[in-house]
Amino acid sequence: MTADARAVTAPTAEEVAAEVPAGRPTGWWGMVMFITTEATLFAALVASYFYLRFQSTPEWPLGGIKAPELSLPLVMSAILLSSSGPMVLADRGIRAGHVGRLRLGLAATFVLGATFLGLQGYEYTIKLKEFTPTTNVYGSLFFAITGFHGMHVMVGLLLILFVQVRAWLGHFGRGRHLHVQTTAMYWHFVDAVWVVIMLSLYIGPHL
């Protein structure tokens, strides 16, 4: 190991150029701003959750409802978070011009996302036997926030389906993949929101 920086080769012109921020297309910025405002919406909902939780009696959940059971939600989390992996493969794949990787990655993401949604439906059937949105404010918050997130997963699945159809029709290639990229951004965002919901609504009441 030398301490003389000059003794080590300086970066080549290509290496420098690779780090110059690429100009982003308008669609990329549009999706960034859309995600920003959506994230703010979830932040307002989660802040309302904590506001109402700490305004009420120390008992939480209210009215003798049990703190949420964690094993099923943890499985759901694992499934949803792992769905971002194939999405990265799809996105990277089409950037290198591999339509096959794009289709495969999208299909895997779709299956994982749909499984998550199915499990959430199953979880609701169990929960609804114990409490409903109209039981008290805890029920209102739980179903409104998780339901709103579930709707976002649904929208994400529709987007993936749409991009999949377009991939089959040969709409995407090495230089034409903006809608793949924005769909991937949206999907990763929906995943990240779930982490916040998991921590706040499921693990939070146990602390």
Partner: protein
């Protein structure tokens, strides 16, 4: 080799939308959409103005019975809601739509179809909310709609439904518009227009758009929760089941205070556009004004509790918000001093636009002064919910937004219509509005200090309020006469006004570098700028003329705009723009069905809207054949 004339001809053919009724529903041209925003917002302004005249007529004398308490509640609620949501922001978005691309030297907004969609949603949401009058069931809980009054227990009727559903629907439009402004400003600036050369009006619209992106979700979350409480028996605001009505207030004002600046910032941007032109010198302190814009937008998110000083919150939080409320006066003050300094150091021309700017300066400073008083907790607690508050926010919003909008009408309408307005009628209108405005709102300070509460439909004689109220009511009619003068002036100018020419004021920014009204493609050659005041550079016009013949400056494909880099506005590539299409209207109609069904409780009908929206969005995203082929 094609000639300049042939190129321009091709450009015109590719940007011109087909004439006829079908095209009216399909347009994606930012200028047509901007004009529609302006006219539609003007109609809502007139509606809200007539509501205000009705209120002032009822309050002209004590113990009147022209309007009963129930109708009075609906009228003041719709007056405020319409002015805030359906007039102020859409009007400023209208001017933004028209002038932001022109001032940036672009040929359209970044997302033309989203732009058209935003207009349709605004129109439908505004009509939906006002349709409530047909049923005699207009919103009646005040524009900030506090629960529990507006909850299912105390207002079970549909009135509040029009408010919650209407505003949720409208929110789609405002968010779409804001995102469009941000991306347009980031990506479609003329080459050379680095961040330090963006016109101050565009900076103001940009700061506003960011405030919308972060503030509107709080209002949407609030309205969604109230809708769930009212329609589906949820308990967010119901203390008996663990909810809390104060949550409504927090979320509402977390949106509501930034919204004051969402309204005022672009209006201040108009002032920053007009002051240098009519002072015949560049703006003093450009950088300070940019920083003040950004600082105001940021700090506005930390002051909302000053609307809630009388609620009974902990002392600590009140001290924090009191300090923040006093802090936000600093960027406001910087802007005032910069305008005054520009005028002092310039050669002021008192044409009608500038006259309205001076009227703005006087009333906005007065409104700011009473605003500082409200930042002080003990004063606020004494005076809250009195007519003093009504006086204060009308000085801020009428003074801070309506005067600049009128200035913009006189300044920019000649660019839109190609005809100048009449100066004498303009000055008459100014003096009627300025005099009437002070006669209308100044006495409210006094009646408020004398203890008159806001939102009462009548009052008893002998409390010392009669004279002040009568003065206010007379002032209301004088203001109305002033607006009639401006309306008459506009209509007259359309037929008889002197032709404006490209640049009637000797302006500094790029909208004056093209004809009035501009051609559909705005600029035949992409302008290149070298300062914040391109038209005041000696050789700018000369360069633009020679550029007409340069293929690089004309963009090879005709229906294209130039995409430039975010910070330095270096050219990146030309991007193809979408053609006119009916899809945005279809998607907006789908949303209308969904929201209308939700409001009426016809959930099957509401569900029918969803496939329309989805199919419309799919058609929207579907590429054109030649894009796939490429």
């Amino acid at each position: 080799m094609t000639t300049v004339a042939e190129r321009t001809q091709r450009l015109a053919e590719s940007w011109e939308e087909a004439p006829g009724l079908a095209s009216w529903f399909k347009t994606v041209d930012h200028k047509k959409i901007g004009r529609r925003y302006i006219w539609t917002a003007s109609v809502f302004f007139a509606a809200a103005g007539f509501e205000a005249l009705a209120l002032r007529t009822q309050l002209a004398r004590p113990d009147q019975t022209l309007i009963g308490p129930g109708a009075y509640n609906q009228l003041f609620t719709m007056h405020g809601t319409t002015m805030i949501f359906l007039f102020a922001t859409p009007m400023l978005f209208g001017f933004g739509n028209y002038f932001v691309p022109l001032m940036l030297g672009a040929r359209d907004m970044a997302f033309p179809r989203l732009n058209a969609f935003g207009y349709w949603v605004f129109l439908f949401a505004g009509l939906l909310m006002n349709a409530s009058f047909l049923f005699g069931q207009a919103p009646n809980g005040g524009w900030f709609n506090y629960v529990p009054l507006t909850g299912p227990e105390y207002t079970p009727e549909v009135n509040i439904g029009f408010y919650t559903v209407g505003l949720l629907f409208l929110g789609i439009s405002t968010t779409a518009g804001a995102i469009n402004f941000i991306v347009t400003t980031f990506k479609l600036r003329a080459p050379g227009m680095s961040l330090n050369r963006i016109p101050l009006f565009v900076w103001a619209v940009l700061a506003t758009a960011f405030a919308v992106v972060f503030a509107l979700p709080a209002l949407n979350a609030d309205n969604a929760m109230l809708l769930l409480d009212r329609k589906f028996g949820f308990h967010f605001f119901d203390p008996a089941a663990g909810g809390d009505p104060v949550l409504w207030q927090h979320l509402f004002w977390l949106f509501g205070h930034p919204d004051v600046y969402i309204i005022v910032l672009p209006a201040l941007g108009i002032v920053s556009a007009i002051v240098p032109v009519f002072s015949r010198r560049p703006m003093v302190g450009y950088f300070w004004l940019v920083l003040a814009n950004v600082a105001t937008a940021v700090i506005s998110f930390g002051v909302w509790v000053h609307h809630m000083f009388a609620v009974g919150l902990p002392q600590l939080s009140m001290s924090f918000f009191s300090a923040a409320s006093l802090l936000i006066t600093i960027p406001g003050g910087i802007q005032i001093f910069a305008w005054v300094a520009t005028m002092l150091r310039g050669r002021v021309v008192l044409a009608t636009p500038m006259l309205f700017v001076v009227g703005f300066l006087i009333s906005f400073v007065a409104g700011g002064l009473t605003g500082v008083m409200f930042g002080v907790v003990p004063f606020d607690q004494q005076i809250t919910d009195s007519y003093f508050v009504v006086a204060h926010f009308h000085y801020v919003l009428f003074g801070g937004a309506v005067f600049p909008i009128l200035a913009a009408v006189y300044y920019w309408m000649p660019k839109i219509t190609g005809r100048l307005l009449d100066e004498r009628l303009g000055k008459l209108s100014f003096w009627l509005i300025f005099g009437g405005f002070n006669l209308l709102f100044f006495p409210m300070h006094v009646s408020g200090l004398l203890g008159m509460p806001r939102r009462v439909y009548t009052f008893l004689p002998g409390l010392g309020w009669e004279g002040w109220n009568l003065a206010s009511s007379i002032g209301a009619y004088v203001v109305a006469a002033g607006f009639l003068a401006t309306l008459g002036n506009l209509l007259w100018s359309l037929r008889r006004g002197r032709p404006a020419g490209d640049d009637p004021w000797g302006g500094d920014s790029l909208e004056w570098a093209t004809s009035s009204p501009p051609p559909p493609y705005n600029f035949a050659a992409v302008p290149v700028v070298h300062s914040a005041y391109p038209l005041w550079e000696d050789r700018f016009r000369e360069r633009l003329d020679t550029a007409q013949g340069s293929p690089g400056r004309q963009l090879a494909g005709d229906h294209e705009v130039l995409r430039t880099s975010e910070l330095d506005a270096e050219p990146e590539r030309a991007i193809e723009m979408p053609e006119e299409t009916v899809v945005p209207l279809v998607v907006a109609l789908g949303f209308l069905v969904a929201f209308g069904g939700l409001l009426a409780g016809w959930y099957l009908v509401a569900a029918l809207g969803v496939p329309v929206v989805l199919a419309g969005l799919a058609a929207w995203a579907w590429p054109r054949r030649e894009e796939v082929a490429r």
